[in-house]
Symmetry: C2
């Protein structure tokens, strides 16, 4: 939990740096709100039992509830972040950081703006977070749904199969082209020569020069959608260069993103592994992803009024498991509490004094603990401090009472110093602020 | 959300000050885990639809999941806090701060310790939080389940009716004694003279002297349970005096707490209203509550191994609505973002410069925004800053570019100063640290 909190603080700090405000939506949505938004994954939604009242489901992500919120409240413009739980009916595999309940951290910009400026900011945010967390080298793959659709069209995919083929392409990060081709031809009934034409495209990835190359592609350029997508990506790369992050971004024609609601640019960040890491098979797939979804809000508006949106989601659960695994590898230990001072006594019948003293510390805002025993042994008390990593011990006994002092023990060095009783709080605050 | 975050930060800060670590449990539990833990309120539990796999329900509070967690992981000792959502099938009434989904903040101490030390700490925490939030004057009512049970026994309530009568007594904070008596006699079949005997007791409240008085009560003192409860309360008040909070605590024989799982001391904090407030009928009932539940963990352990627990829950939703209402009354406005600097231009075709500049600010950790427009009007940009309460504006135009400077505008005073381009970040950081 301590590691989780640090990672979340860092992510939230970045969202705030980019001017987002926090919002929160309920854990459940009307069942119909979630229907037909997630393509092949819709079977993973948890429904609530019909106990009277509306039919409800647990939210599957934070994007659809955000779109529903914008439409319901007729919000035309908003930059928000949301940190919350989502639920999916999966078989949990801890290795890949996939659970049935997990935390999502989303940042989204809603509103009609000039092209690609908010999109570029989303990619900047992903870079800032992944660099800030020091997870090692990473790359963000970028593509555009319109380029994908254009590619499908010029390759000869029937329009009715766009979604299905898109889902197959989406598996290319985990599955070989051979297997994906097999699925497209055998399971989804695509002509083999069409599949091969797609194969030529999806093996391309690169930077701005690849965009230029695709602009020269005679087949792809017949397609209006593809041309629009390529034009926007070119502009996007211009802004990414100004943000100083262009070298982290790869235009990748194999990136598809399974979800139905994307309409424009899409992106996904993956960690680059050293050969040693790859052998440990600590493959965690994508650690952040997102894209543009200009049609989703309109689906919830009675008049179909559209609010264009672009956003990103940080895969914090996967990041948690990477950081945890790394800490295990390096044998790092983390304190689970923040206690600064422990109140101890070597004497019997000193509970009253300890209680008075600790209340004084609490009231001064100092994080303090004692053992809930009338007469604990001194050794037990000192062991507790060493186990828990508590840096300071206040010791009070008969001798100290008589002299009007307190002993302050520094746990790390085992050094003990005498302090006047009335200076205790000030002295502790001084030491804590110095350390 | 900003107000909520501030309140939660304050509550969590207090929990950490008392040495608790954070844990998190899943939103749903096995249906059977929640069955028969909540008395008359069990009908308010949300069940998930049977989609294959285990039968699940959404958690109703954070206490039962904590007890289940301790038993499952065979934890014998733990001081933890938990901030999370819980769900209840209620008709939402916003006035009283009751919703179907709401946030709970719980602190609990599990383990076998010397009597009343952890219990006293729980009350100290409640006092620290309620004082810290400056909600106005408050009182914490304290009672003990054993005293209640003893009182029922000596008044002549049949043991089979203890739970039902306890639920009736629990309504005394909202309902008059007359109505509660009616419910006990007519609906729950209690003899009128038994009800009247209970009535004599439940109208008593006071401090240590009331405990002494009850010790002298010849009927109550025949009962072993009641004597034990009174003895513990006496010890508790001793510790509360050492903590300096005894005057905030009232021994109140009418306090019952509806939940089935309490076994010892119980408590509930209520805000004291000035006559003016009472007229506005902003009655929000209890704002924090808790008690001892020594049997709950054993119910989840296959061998029935018991782990005594005591804890508290802060009613943050009610506190949110009180603070919000007060802010409305005083017309206070709260910033929803933390943006420190806005990047503006008076010129057309300055998007590239603005993007380069803002990336520099973000990379230096400065919270910054710009408008997502190629050519926004200067007035629109400045209005945005005044609306959003952004304190600083960086202005860049042709003239500034030529001179190698930047204009820094202080939004509050509308003063503008020229700064060398290369000193911009340092200058902003200096101004932000001073303010």
């Amino acid at each position: 939990m301590v590691v989780r909190e640090k990672i979340l603080d860092m992510v939230i700090g970045c969202f705030k740096r980019h001017g987002a405000k926090r919002i929160d939506t309920p854990a459940f949505e009307l069942k119909e709100t979630l229907t037909e938004k997630y393509g092949e994954d819709s079977g993973l939604i948890y429904d609530l039992k019909d106990q009277g009242g509306e039919l409800l489901s647990l939210r599957y992500d934070l994007t659809v509830p955000f779109a529903r919120y914008l439409a319901m409240n007729k919000v035309k413009k908003m930059k928000r972040y949301h940190v919350g739980k989502v639920w999916r009916r999966e078989s949990p595999t801890i290795v890949q950081g996939r659970y049935r309940e997990f935390c999502q951290c989303d940042f989204d910009i809603a509103g009609q703006f000039d092209p690609m400026i908010p999109d570029a900011e989303c990619l900047k945010i992903m870079c800032e977070i992944l660099s800030g967390l020091e997870l090692g080298d990473f790359i963000i793959k970028v593509n555009d749904r319109r380029i994908l659709d254009g590619m499908f069209a010029v390759c000869g995919v029937p329009e009715s199969k766009f979604h299905a083929i898109c889902s197959s392409i989406d598996k290319l990060d985990k599955t070989s082209w051979k297997d994906v081709r097999h699925e497209m031809v055998v399971k989804k009934g695509l002509a083999p020569e069409v599949a091969d034409r797609i194969g030529d495209y999806v093996q391309c990835h690169g930077g701005v020069s690849l965009i230029e190359q695709m602009f020269q592609d005679p087949r792809l350029c017949q397609n209006k959608q593809a041309r629009e997508g390529l034009g926007d990506l070119k502009l996007l790369f211009e802004y990414l260069t100004l943000f100083g992050i262009a070298e982290k971004i790869s235009f990748d024609l194999s990136l598809a993103r399974g979800l139905d609601y994307y309409t424009g640019v899409i992106y996904e960040a993956v960690l680059l592994q050293t050969p040693a890491q790859a052998e440990e098979s600590s493959n965690v797939g994508s650690v952040a992803a997102g894209g543009r979804y200009d049609g989703l809000v309109g689906m919830f508006d009675p008049k179909g009024y559209k609010v264009p949106c672009v956003g990103l989601s940080i895969g914090v659960e996967r990041i948690f498991s990477i950081v945890e695994q790394r800490m295990k590898t390096f044998g790092q230990k983390i304190r689970t509490t923040e206690t600064q001072v422990f109140v101890a006594t070597p004497q019997k019948n000193f509970l009253h004094e300890r209680l008075k003293l600790i209340a004084e510390l609490w009231d001064a805002g100092i994080k303090a603990e004692l053992l809930y025993k009338n007469n604990p042994k001194l050794l037990t008390q000192l062991h507790y401090c060493e186990d828990m990593g508590i840096p300071l011990v206040v010791i009070i006994g008969e001798q100290e009472m008589k002299e009007g002092i307190i002993k302050l023990r520094l746990v790390a060095s085992r050094e003990e110093v005498a302090i006047k009783r009335e200076n205790l709080v000030a002295e502790i605050q001084k030491r804590l602020s110095e350390s």
